[in-house]
């Protein structure tokens, strides 16, 4: 393989892996705090993409409601992303309040909450199908794509934007988790969930913050997915969500760094398999590689084995 083709696939993989990494972060954070596999998270990604589409259409004055001011073209994408992130965070927190918290309060076994999460994912999907119809939606064009060519490696400004924004978002997330008090409380809960409330930390507040951040990350992934591949369908989050969950586990579930690395690994494997083999082998090989990693390192790449003391 020549260097230029390698770099070409490398960029593709970085973009593709960014989506997985951003979704996997949400899985792993909720798991770290609640020990809950939030199976509705893939559909939060879908909700983020759709909300982004509606926000973008609104900003582009496609609806009857007129905007009070004229938006400069460069502000369109950042504004869409921020509003979609905020709205999706509201959806994520609502799900937590409506579906997960009552069960937690009643002391239901953990796996029943997982099933509720699965159901909520289906509800979001088919609620979308029932209200918006089966027709695929077109994501409006927010930035004019320009093609660059540096030494034979071709890429668009969209691809650069996706990669840069994802890395930026992960840097911000790293700061939030490592340097702020809330982040410290989050890490403390995943370390010892019994001691944290005794230290005067409001666990419910931390859980809400976790869902806000996780959903916002999924929304970022959703909007950028819409910008890159402008066809949205009601079940787009399903396979993406399951795959991102596997990526999170490969990284070591509960570890944010692990989720990012796992997401990029999955992206790289998928792109490079599709580049050299018939694309029908993509899932087969991607999952076999992930299975192999888990077999060799059962706690994932960055997971810490928990010893049970007797």
């Amino acid at each position: 393989m020549s260097l230029t083709t390698f770099l070409q696939h490398f960029l593709n993989a970085l973009q593709w892996g960014s989506f997985y990494a951003l979704i996997a972060v949400g899985y792993t954070m909720v798991y770290g705090v609640l020990l809950l596999i939030n199976f509705a998270h893939g559909d939060i990604f879908m909700v983020g993409a759709y909300l982004g589409m509606f926000v973008a259409l609104f900003l582009l004055a496609q609806y009857d409601v007129a905007l009070p001011l004229d938006l400069p073209a460069w502000a369109l994408l950042p504004l869409t992303i921020l509003v979609a992130m905020a709205l999706t965070a509201v959806v994520g927190v609502t799900i937590e309040r409506v579906a997960y918290r009552p069960l937690r309060r009643k002391g239901a076994p953990r796996l029943y909450v997982v099933i509720t999460a699965l159901m909520f994912g289906l509800l979001l999907e088919y609620g979308n199908l029932a209200t918006l119809g089966a027709r695929d939606r077109q994501f409006p064009r927010l930035i004019e794509p320009t093609l660059y060519n540096i030494g034979g490696v071709r890429f668009t400004n969209v691809r650069v934007a996706v990669i840069v924004l994802s890395l930026l978002a992960m840097a911000v997330l790293g700061f939030l988790v490592q340097r702020t008090k809330t982040g410290m409380a989050m890490r403390a809960i995943s370390y010892d969930r019994l001691a944290v409330p005794l230290m005067g930390v409001s666990v419910d507040r931390i859980i809400v913050v976790t869902f806000v951040i996780g959903s916002a990350m999924a929304a970022l992934a959703g909007v950028m997915f819409g910008v890159s591949y402008p066809i949205l369908s009601f079940n787009m989050g399903l396979l993406f969500g399951w795959k991102a969950f596997i990526a999170a586990v490969v990284g070591g579930i509960g570890s944010i760094r692990g989720a990012v690395v796992g997401g990029y690994i999955l992206g790289f494997v998928e792109i490079f398999v599709a580049a050299f083999m018939p694309s029908t082998y993509r899932d087969l090989i991607a999952f076999s590689v992930l299975l192999l990693i888990i077999t060799i390192r059962p706690t994932g790449l960055f997971g810490v084995a928990r010893r049970t003391k007797v």
């Binding site: 009552p102 239901a108 076994p109 099933i115 088919y126």
Partner: protein, 346 residues
């Protein structure tokens, strides 16, 4: 127990044989049977053993493909698999054997999962079974000899060949046998000493190990039995539907079975039977609602979980709720004082 089986036999198989039920009702009845087998077998691993396996459809799919390929290749013949090797009447013997073969194949496939996954506990089994489900689907899609993504068919000709040989509702009979057999096997298993070991693993694995339970062996045996039963259910499903494709054994099918297990309650066989039957009927009854069916069902289940957070039955059996039923179900007397704690440590 025998009385109950007799009543069920009179209510399902006999009217089908006499032509009192139309084909649609027979189909729904067989689906109920298949779903009961799937749910009860998954409950053994997820409910009684407390693991979290999410890829049950993959094992069902292995059974479906193995048994379909066996019967079609032996009795019907297929341009890619070669001509029929046996006369048509042999389908009467080949069909049940192929179901067994499908079960064995699913169990062997389950071994591939069991060996790496039991080094760790809890949610890692979820991920391994999830990945295996994707791998299975992708593998079949790439196997052109059994139809790849287009699917595999010809099983209706096997079932009609059986009907021509002896005119009784064969699929209904075998679905009945498989359902009753599964419930009997799992019920006997969880009430045996071995079953106590399974429940002990759920409650506290280390304590179980200290009490001389060979946890690794118990886990593998329970998991393989569960996979094997799912394989049998898959074989039945394939022959009833007459057409299988890899997409039908994807993660959505697994989700359906998971929902049935947790709706019925972890560690309750009667709960599994009730929820499998109830949900199958509900899904069929709501067919006219089209898309809204899949809005209403999750909504119903979320509400149900809110008010009954441990499923319909929790970890109790129907005989615990209505002790008068014990006359019919007849539990072994030494179990009278045994109480499930349902995974909760008091």
């Amino acid at each position: 127990m025998p009385a109950l089986i007799g009543v069920l036999f009179l209510a399902t198989v006999v009217p089908s044989g006499l032509g009192l039920y139309n084909p649609y009702i027979q189909l729904v009845l067989i689906y109920i049977g298949v779903n009961i087998v799937l749910t009860v077998s998954l409950n053994l691993v997820n409910g009684y053993m407390g693991e979290f396996s999410v890829g049950h459809a993959a094992f069902m799919g292995v059974g479906a493909y193995v048994s379909s390929v066996t019967t079609v290749a032996l009795v019907i013949g297929n341009p890619r698999l070669g001509g029929p090797l046996l006369p048509e009447a042999s389908s009467l013997v080949v069909f049940p054997l192929s179901l067994l073969l499908g079960g064995v194949a699913a169990a062997v496939f389950g071994l591939l999962v069991a060996i790496p996954s039991f080094r760790v506990r809890g949610d890692y089994l979820a991920i391994i079974t999830l990945a295996v489900n994707f791998i299975f689907k992708s593998l079949v899609e790439n196997l052109d000899v059994i139809g790849g993504p287009r699917g595999f068919l010809g099983m209706t000709r096997v079932t009609s060949a059986m009907g021509r040989a002896v005119d009784v509702p064969w699929t209904m009979i075998w679905a009945f046998v498989a359902t009753v057999g599964t419930v009997y096997v799992v019920h006997s298993l969880v009430n045996s000493t071995f079953g106590k070991a399974i429940v002990a693993i759920r409650e506290d694995e280390i304590a179980a190990e200290l009490m001389t339970v060979d946890t690794r062996r118990v886990k593998v045996v329970a998991f393989l039995l569960s996979c094997g039963l799912a394989g049998v259910a898959g074989g039945l499903f394939a022959h009833v539907l007459g057409f299988i494709n890899p997409a039908g054994f994807g993660i959505l099918k697994s989700t359906e079975v998971l929902v049935m297990v947790y709706l019925g309650g972890m560690g309750s066989i009667t709960g599994s039977v009730l929820s499998a039957a109830g949900l199958t009927v509900l899904l069929e009854a709501m067919r006219p609602l089209h898309v809204f069916r899949w809005v209403l069902i999750p909504l119903l289940l979320i509400l149900l979980m809110r008010f009954r957070p441990t499923g319909l039955m929790g970890s109790r059996e129907l005989t615990d709720v209505f002790p008068a039923l014990r006359r019919w179900f007849g539990r072994p007397p030494e179990d009278e004082h045994f109480e499930h704690t349902g995974g909760r440590v008091s």
